[in-house]
């Protein structure tokens, strides 16, 4: 096949690809997120939380390794 045809086909392919990506970008919420509040739900009831027990007594003895 002549090279110019190949070039045209390649150009068409990447052109379509680029248009598709642009469309996806417009459709996705990504740009909207720039204007959204930064607050996110950090802790939810369903997440497991590690809370040190306040009545536990830490060991302060020296000489222990590891």
């Amino acid at each position: 096949m002549p090279e110019t045809t190949k070039t045209l086909q390649r150009r068409k392919f990447f052109g379509k690809l680029g248009k598709g990506l642009t469309g996806l970008l417009l459709l996705s919420a990504f740009p909207v997120k720039f204007f959204q509040s930064e607050k996110k739900e950090i802790a939810s009831e369903k997440k497991i939380r590690i809370i040190e027990h306040p009545l536990a007594v830490k060991r302060n003895k020296k000489g222990l390794r590891g």
Binding site: L21, I50, E52, V57, R59
Partner: protein, 1024 residues
């Protein structure tokens, strides 16, 4: 073949690792020749790859990346990292905290230290202040931290019905339960509480309070494995009380009859510590001598100097004939019952080694007062009575401890009690049944009919951490808090009181079982609060223990000090034993007529009675003898296997009465002919995603009316069954590359041994390699600290505590049975097991094997990307993010200690079981969590070395070798492992390296390994 290394002993040691090797089976040598198992690279067959052209591939790739980039906005995110807004006072990020507590993995209640990072428990080790376990715990204790984060834990109370389970809240549970309990109590119907061993005085008081409130309540305490039979025999021989503890360290001769005291009998950790004092290769004081008489090989049998095979139902006759013989020779006034056979006839009939038995008898006589005969807890009561008499005859009662004795808070329910309970349940006289963290449907013999009787109880509940077979038949399943979320106190030894404190708030909506009973005993559904049991214990201690202690401190200080230490010791001597009742011997019944085959059911070494079946780390821990993982099986002898035409992995049907079960066969060298030994705890139907269906349920073969004991059936019938079942064992894997000769282990000096006698005569008998070898590598110089390790093979009993400790410390993943079968087990630390001698009566050895951190490591030269390097302090380092996975280093390693991540095993195992929340909280943040395609191996706990170095810098001093303890060293109960600075001439490791018994493995390869082993000495008679 001659052994250049062990030649001086004049013995021709013939080492072999399996029956295949011994019989020159080509399969065994094929496996050795290839470091990687067959099928390892199956996944990477090039011819199977898709024929997509390069152009098309690149186009698809770029399109995919573009789509991914546009749609995935935060695919790198693993959650937010948020600094503390209000940092808890106790927490400093990056600095671990230690909390003293108590382990309840078994009934020994060992003192532990829980290490937390940022509030999360990540490691458990022994509490050095606890006078019993003295800073050591077993593999089950080490792995208990995983149970806290098990995704299959019950998270909320559940109402169980045929339509399906539904979550309910605690308010509904409390109101419903209090109403039912009052109804039961007022109508005179029984409230049964089925509990395990009660080791806590405060818990006993909770139960007493409950019974005071609901007078028809009754507690039935049971354990599958306990000392009830031994104590009953003691009562017959002496007086009511518990069998005394034994001074193993003072015993010069120990005769163990099915007593696996170094593994899972009694307080194994304490036993190992005491026993190993008489096995110190380094100090080489007088060695003790251990005789073991057992049905199949056990860790205690592997440590024995002499071992005899005998079916368990023949032990009574053996002890009585020993008494006969010893009584005649010593003219003792204590006589064996009449009709006892002579020892000579017994030995001949049972085909025992006559020479060994003669040594046993003579050693017991020569060491009267310094010897002990010990019977295993699964043997019948009459055996224990006979053993008590034998010890009395020999004056061995001197070795019974008077400084400590066991304490049982509530006596165990007897068979009659349980039969009565089931009878009452069937009659409808039991209104409420509370399963207090127990699983009787799985544990109890099926002929109790407990499961059917339970269906007739109107209101049944189960309090448990994870659903099990019993909870499936109950009305409610109530989640209880893990040990690390709970308060408690324990008194299992006279004068020793240990505390358990919660290091975190419960992860889920769980409550402590004691607190649940307290709130129900109050009669008020609003009574419960988080501190109810804490306040209860404090109140008890103030009125009881604190008053007895007569401490000069105020109670609050006393309490806080006790919590910090984890234990309070109030010296209290055991009562002096009463006089021996000679009449107890006349009560011994003659043994029942034995059939040809005996089934022996015993405990296993990792998952307990089955309660830890869902712990993948314990399931993947190789069996200390067979090295099988993820299964149980029937141990049979080579001769019995030949009789039935059985081979490894065949199926065998074992029938006892009307009960039968099929098991895969494991032909175990050293098993008594006619004995079939099976470990209990497997084959659970409801044990979480990991444990369900693992192994075969042998519990169904038990009977409450067994002729001998519920564990021994001398009328078993066996036959070959159809089919096969692949057992996966690690014993053929990672074998050190030796030539195709089964005795290459002795030629290559991997195991070096001798006898105590030849060592005494010639301390230099080992004849170590002195020849200077030429090396292409420049010998490195270590100017500062040089890390090295020593392992005393005399002390190692193969308990696997080191393996588990290493796994938890270094975030080693579980890979599953299928991957272990392909040789991909990820344990950095393994304990190799060797045999020598014959298949019928082998001699065993255990050898811990890990990265040798060679000075001239062959793995370092071959890495194309310098991902494995050598540090200035002697460590062979691994740089994970440089590794590209050529595996050339592993190929070159002669010790086969390198492990490759063929998958991201956390994702690969059981459909990502260990990727679920909250398992990732168990990871040690100081150790990288490795992913796919990366090689890993032992690092000598470099994170601990770095921490010690930082501490030394902070304190403005030099780093010393004694500042660091590796995880394996810290865990080893017998202190077989030493670690430190080889450049310090005063350090113990330097002395190990210079010791007469010290040797290195494969030293002729000139790798210059830095693990020094002390050769194994057997304390056998010179003429053997």
């Amino acid at each position: 073949m001659n052994n250049s290394k062990n030649e001086s002993s004049g013995k021709d040691y013939n080492y072999w690792r399996s029956l295949k090797e011994l019989n020159n089976n080509p399969e065994a040598f094929d496996q050795k020749a290839n470091e990687f198992m067959k099928g390892v690279t199956d996944d990477f067959e090039i011819s199977g790859m898709s024929p997509v052209s390069r152009r098309k591939f690149l186009a698809l790739l770029s399109a995919s990346v573009a789509f991914a980039a546009s749609s995935c906005t935060n695919y790198h995110s693993h959650g937010e990292i948020i600094p503390y807004n209000k940092k808890p006072e106790e927490v400093t990020p990056g600095i671990p905290n230690l909390y003293a507590s108590t382990c309840t993995g078994c009934s020994n209640a060992c003192g532990i230290l829980i290490k937390t990072r940022e509030g999360r428990p990540i490691k458990v080790d022994g509490n050095p202040d606890h006078p019993v376990n003295k800073g050591k715990i077993c593999a089950i204790g080490q792995a208990s931290v995983i149970n806290l984060y098990d995704p299959n834990r019950l998270k909320t109370p559940v109402a169980i019905s045929q339509e399906g389970n539904s979550s309910i809240n605690w308010k509904t549970v409390d109101e419903g339960m209090i109403a039912e309990l009052e109804k039961a109590s007022s109508s005179g119907k029984q409230i049964a509480i089925i509990s395990g061993r009660i080791s806590s005085p405060s818990e006993k008081m909770v139960l007493d309070n409950f019974i005071a409130k609901y007078p028809t309540a009754r507690v039935y305490s049971y354990e599958l494995f306990e000392n009830g039979v031994r104590n009953a025999a003691w009562n017959r021989s002496y007086a009511p009380g518990s069998f005394p503890l034994i001074q193993w360290d003072q015993a010069k001769v120990i005769v163990s009859l099915e007593g696996d005291f170094l593994a899972n009998e009694g307080h194994a950790i304490e036993n190992i510590q005491m026993f190993s004092k008489g096995r110190d290769g380094f100090l080489n004081k007088d060695f003790n001598r251990l005789y073991v008489v057992e049905a199949t090989m056990t860790p205690t049998g592997m440590a024995a100097d002499y071992r005899l095979r005998l079916k368990p139902d023949r032990q009574l006759d053996f002890v009585l004939s020993l008494m006969n013989e010893i009584g005649e020779r010593t003219k003792s006034s204590i006589k064996a019952p009449s009709g006892t056979s002579s020892l000579k006839d017994f030995v001949k009939n049972e085909n025992m080694l006559a020479g060994t038995v003669e040594h046993l008898v003579q050693d017991l006589i020569d060491n009267r007062g310094s010897a002990i005969v010990y019977a295993g807890s699964l043997l019948p009561e009459d055996v224990h009575v006979a053993v008590n008499a034998l010890n009395e005859m020999l004056g061995n009662t001197r070795l019974y401890r008077t400084d400590q004795a066991e304490v049982l808070q509530i006596p165990f329910a007897q068979k009659q009690d349980l039969e009565n309970l089931v009878g009452e349940m069937n009659k409808g006289n039991v209104q409420v049944i509370i399963h207090y963290d127990t699983n009787p449907i799985f544990d109890l013999p099926q002929d109790y009919g407990y499961a059917d009787a339970l269906k007739k109880v109107p209101f049944s509940i189960a309090m448990l951490e994870q659903e099990n077979e019993t909870s499936a038949l109950c009305r409610y399943a109530l989640p209880i808090s893990h040990d690390f979320e709970s308060w408690g106190d324990f008194n299992t030894r006279m004068g020793i009181f240990s505390l358990r404190q919660p290091v975190i708030y419960p992860l889920y909506s769980t409550r402590q079982k004691e607190a649940i009973l307290l709130s129900w005993a109050s009669g008020d559904s609003k009574f419960y609060k988080d501190t109810v049991y804490h306040d209860f214990i404090m109140n008890n201690w103030e009125k009881g223990l604190f008053a007895s202690a007569k401490s000069p401190l105020d109670f609050r200080t006393f309490w806080l000090t006790a919590l910090e230490n984890g234990v309070v010791v109030l010296p209290e001597n055991a009562p002096a034993p009463a006089g021996f009742k000679a009449a107890s011997l006349s009560e011994i019944k003659p043994p029942s007529k034995a059939g040809r085959y005996t089934l022996y059911l015993k405990g296993n070494y990792s998952i307990g009675d089955g309660r830890y079946a869902n712990n993948g780390f314990l399931q993947e821990l190789p069996h200390p003898v067979t090295k099988v993982v993820w299964d149980n099986y029937a141990f049979i002898s080579p001769k019995t296997a030949e009789e039935f035409g059985l081979e490894m992995n065949d199926m065998v049907e074992v029938k006892v009465g009307s009960r039968k079960q099929e098991f895969p066969v494991f032909i175990q060298p050293g098993t008594a002919d006619g004995a079939v030994v099976v470990e209990l705890g497997y084959g659970r139907r409801k044990a979480g995603e990991v444990g369900t269906g693992t192994g075969v349920n042998a519990n169904i073969l038990m009977s409450k009316d067994a002729p001998v004991t519920p564990f021994i059936y001398n009328d078993a019938q066996i036959r070959k069954a159809s089919g096969a079942y692949k057992l996966v064992t690690t014993q053929e894997q990672h074998t050190i590359e030796d030539t195709r000769a089964k005795d290459a282990h002795k030629r290559r000096g991997i195991i070096r041994e001798g006898t105590v006698d030849e060592y005494k005569k010639n301390p230099g008998f080992l004849e170590k390699e002195e020849r200077e070898k030429i090396s292409m590598n420049k010998n490195p110089e270590y100017l500062g600290v040089k890390w090295a390790m020593g392992i005393d093979l005399n002390k190692c009993v193969g308990c696997n505590a080191c393996v588990t400790a290493c796994d938890i410390e270094n975030n080693v993943p579980v890979v599953g049975k299928e991957q272990v079968d392909k040789g991909r087990i990820m344990h950095w630390f393994r304990v190799d097991r060797y045999y020598s001698g014959t298949a019928e009566d082998p001699v065993s050895y255990t050898q811990p094997m890990l990265c040798q951190h060679c000075d001239t490591a062959p793995c370092e030269n071959v890495c194309p990307v310098a991902a494995t390097t050598h540090s200035p302090d002697g460590l062979n380092q691994m740089v994970y993010n440089r590794c590209v996975g050529t595996r050339y280093c592993s190929n070159n390693c002669p010790y086969k200690v390198r492990r490759f991540n063929f998958f991201n095993f956390r994702d690969h195992f059981a459909d990502g079981y260990y990727l679920q929340e909250p398992v990732e909280m168990v990871y040690n943040p100081e150790v990288t969590v490795r992913s796919r395609g990366v090689m890993e191996k032992c690092t000598f706990c470099v994170q601990r070395i770095m921490q010690a170095r930082e501490n030394a810098i902070e304190e403005n001093r030099e780093l010393k070798g004694s500042d660091v303890q590796t995880a394996c060293q810290q865990a080893c109960p017998s202190e077989a492992i030493v670690f430190g600075d080889a450049n310090d001439p005063d350090s113990i490791i330097s002395k190990f390296r210079a010791h007469n018994l010290g040797y290195h493995v494969l030293v002729d390869l000139n790798t210059r390994p830095n693990i020094t082993y002390l050769a194994k000495l057997r304390n056998i008679h010179p003429e053997v």
